[in-house]
C-alpha cells in the first residue's frame, strides 16, 4: 500500500494541517505503512455484525437547554494572543 503525495496533500487540506516540503516524504512513507497495516481489517467477514460506537452501548445523554455557566469571556480570552473589544482577531477574510 503506497499513498501518493497528491493524496496526502488532499488530506492536509481537509484537515487544515500544513505539512512542510521537508516532511512530505516521511509522511507519505509512514502513512502508507499505517494504512497498509490497518488493511488487515478487510480480512474478516463482518457482514452480519452491528458496528459498535459505545463500549457500554449507552445512549447519548442529553441535558436541558438552559444556561448553566457564568460569562467568563475575559478570563477565557486571556489565553488568546489577539483580542479586541471581546472579539478574537484573525487575518482579514473579506476585502
Amino acid at each position: 500500500m503506497s499513498l501518493k503525495p497528491e493524496a496526502i496533500e488532499k488530506l492536509c487540506d481537509l484537515a487544515r494541517l500544513e505539512v512542510g516540503a521537508d516532511e512530505l516524504d516521511d509522511v507519505v512513507d509512514k502513512l502508507s505503512r499505517i494504512v497498509g497495516f490497518v488493511d488487515q481489517l478487510q480480512s474478516v467477514d463482518t457482514s452480519a455484525v452491528e458496528p459498535m460506537a459505545h463500549p457500554l452501548s449507552q445512549p447519548q445523554r442529553l441535558r436541558a437547554d438552559v444556561v448553566t455557566e457564568a460569562d467568563q469571556h475575559e478570563r477565557f480570552q486571556a489565553n488568546a494572543q489577539h483580542v479586541m473589544d471581546g472579539l478574537y482577531l484573525v487575518p482579514k477574510v473579506i476585502e
Partner: protein, 461 residues
C-alpha cells in the same frame, strides 16, 4: 518538602515533570495540616501527587505535551483535579507525556523523552510516561494518568508500578483533553493496589459535565481489598502467549499466574478469537476520533499562533496547526482524516467499528466462565529510546495486549510481577464491566504474597 526536594534533585535526569507547582504545594500542605488538626481529613489529605499534563488545572500551564498548548494556562479544573483537591491532596506538578497522549514511549513529547528510572537510555512507556517514572522514582506518592490504548498500564508495567484503567465512563472526562472520546479513561498510577483503590474511589462518580459519564454510584473499592481470592476463576488467553511475547517476559507472567493458583484461584485457558484485530481496529477508531477532537486547536482562541504573516485565513489555520503539532500527532490526524473521508468510510471506519464489536463480544463471552482475565501487559520490557521511532507500526504493536480492554470498555490494570535484565515486567488483569473492586482485590492479594511492588530503582533510593 521531601518530595519537592526529590524532584529538584532527580528530575533533571528523568524529565518526568513539565511544570512543578511548588508554591501551590506548600499552601496545600498548610491547608492539609489544618484539616488534619481539625479532624476533617480524608484518607488522601496531605498526600503529594502529580497530574498528567492532560488534566486542565486552574491557573497552571496545561500543555498536553504539545507545542500547541505550551502557552496555555487553564482557566478551570478538570473534574479529576477538583475531586482530588477536595479530598485534600497536595499537587506537586504536572507530568510529561506523549504529545496529546499519542505514543507508547513518551518520545513524542514536545518537552523531550522521559528516562526510565530503572535504566537510563530506556523508555518509561507512554503515554503517561512522566507519571509512571515519577511514581517509580518516588518523586511523588502517586500520579494520575489516562489510558486510551494502554497509556496507564503499559508505562506502569515498564516502570514496575501499579496502574488501573477503570470501566469506560467511571471517571469524568471533563477537563481531560480529549484524544479518542469513546476510549479515553483516567486512572491512578501508584506503588500498590491499595493506593490505587484509595485514589480511584475518589476519582470515580457521575458528572453532569461529561455526557458519557456512567450514571451510577461510584464503586466501593477499599473495603473489598482484604477478601481472599480463593475459588476465583482466572482466564488466561492462550493467544496472549504467542510468538510476539518475549520468552523471559512470558516466564515472569507464568510465575505470577502460579502465585494466583497458590492463593486458591483456578486458571482456565481461554481464546480471544479476534484479538489480533484489536491493534488495526484501534488505529482506525482512535485516529478518526482524534482528527475530530483536535480540530478545535486553531491557534486563534488559545494555543500556538504562527509568527509567519499571512492574509489568508485558511493558510493561517494550516500554519498554526502545522507548526503547533508534532509529527506523530500529524500522522494520527491525517490517518483519521483518511479513514473518515468519502470513499473510505465504510471500508475502514465502519469496518473497524464492526471489528470492535467482535473483539468486545469475545471478552463478554469469556466473562461468562471466568471472573478475571490475566496475561502480560506488554510484549517486552522497556526498550531503548530511539529504537522504535522509525516505524510507527512497530511502536503501535506495543499495545497489542492492552488495546482490547479499551475497545470493549473493560476495567484493566497492570501490577509488577518480576524483572528481565533489571527491567520490570507487568502482569495485566482485565475484569468484567464495573468490576474494578474485583481487579483491585486480586491485585492486592497478590501484593500481600509478593514483594515486586516494593522494589525501588537503585539510583533513586
Amino acid at each position: 518538602m521531601h518530595f519537592l526536594e526529590r524532584i529538584k534533585r532527580y528530575d533533571d535526569s528523568l524529565n518526568a515533570f513539565i511544570t512543578t507547582t511548588d508554591a501551590q504545594a506548600l499552601a496545600q500542605a498548610d491547608a492539609a495540616d489544618a484539616r488534619i488538626a481539625s479532624g476533617t481529613a480524608t484518607r488522601l489529605t496531605g498526600i503529594p501527587i502529580a497530574h498528567k499534563d492532560i488534566f486542565c488545572t486552574n491557573d497552571v500551564k496545561t500543555s498536553c505535551g504539545s507545542r500547541m498548548l505550551d502557552n496555555f494556562v487553564s482557566p478551570y479544573d478538570a473534574t479529576v483535579v477538583s475531586k482530588l483537591a477536595d479530598a485534600g491532596v497536595i499537587l506537586l506538578g504536572k507530568t510529561n507525556m506523549d504529545e496529546f497522549a499519542m505514543g507508547s514511549s513518551n518520545e513524542t513529547s514536545f518537552y523531550g523523552a522521559v528516562q526510565n528510572p530503572w535504566k537510563p537510555g530506556f523508555v518509561p512507556g507512554g503515554s503517561s510516561g512522566g507519571s509512571a517514572a515519577a511514581v517509580a522514582a518516588r518523586l511523588c506518592a502517586a500520579a494520575t494518568g489516562t489510558d486510551t490504548g494502554g497509556s496507564i498500564r503499559q508505562p506502569a508495567a515498564l516502570t514496575g508500578i501499579t496502574g488501573i484503567k477503570p470501566t469506560y465512563g467511571r471517571v469524568s472526562r471533563y477537563g481531560m483533553i480529549a484524544f479518542a472520546s469513546s476510549l479515553d479513561q483516567a486512572g491512578p498510577l501508584t506503588q500498590t493496589a491499595e493506593d490505587s483503590a484509595m485514589l480511584l474511589e475518589v476519582m470515580c462518580g457521575f458528572d453532569e459535565r461529561d455526557s458519557t459519564s456512567l450514571n451510577e454510584p461510584a464503586p466501593v473499592l477499599v473495603e473489598s481489598l482484604q477478601k481472599p481470592i480463593r475459588g476465583m476463576t482466572i482466564g488466561v488467553p492462550d493467544n496472549f502467549f504467542d510468538d510476539g511475547l518475549d520468552a523471559d517476559n512470558a516466564a515472569a507472567v507464568r510465575t505470577a499466574l502460579a502465585e494466583f493458583e497458590k492463593l486458591g484461584a483456578k486458571l482456565k485457558p481461554i481464546t480471544l478469537r479476534h484479538i489480533e484485530l484489536s491493534v488495526p481496529a484501534y488505529y482506525v477508531v482512535a485516529p478518526a476520533e482524534a482528527s475530530s477532537n483536535l480540530s478545535r486547536f486553531d491557534g486563534i482562541r488559545f494555543g500556538y499562533r504562527t509568527e509567519a504573516p499571512t492574509d489568508d485565513l485558511r493558510e493561517f489555520y494550516m500554519r498554526n496547526r502545522g507548526e503547533g503539532f508534532g509529527a506523530e500527532v500529524k500522522r494520527r490526524i491525517l490517518t483519521g482524516t483518511y479513514v473518515l473521508s468519502a470513499g473510505y468510510f465504510d471500508a475502514y471506519y465502519l469496518q473497524a467499528q464492526k471489528a470492535r464489536r467482535l473483539i468486545s463480544d469475545d471478552f463478554l463471552e469469556a466473562f461468562e466462565d471466568v471472573d478475571l482475565i490475566a496475561g502480560p501487559t506488554t510484549p517486552t520490557p522497556a526498550f531503548e529510546i530511539g529504537q522504535k521511532t522509525d516505524d510507527p507500526v512497530q511502536m503501535y504493536l506495543n499495545d497489542i495486549y492492552t488495546i482490547g480492554a479499551n475497545l470493549a470498555g473493560l476495567p484493566a490494570m497492570s501490577i509488577p510481577c518480576g524483572f528481565v535484565n533489571e527491567l520490570p515486567v507487568g502482569l495485566q488483569l482485565i475484569g468484567p464491566h464495573r468490576k474494578e473492586d474485583r481487579l483491585l482485590q486480586a491485585a492486592h492479594q497478590y501484593q500481600q504474597a509478593t514483594d515486586w511492588h516494593l522494589k525501588l530503582p537503585p539510583a533513586f533510593i
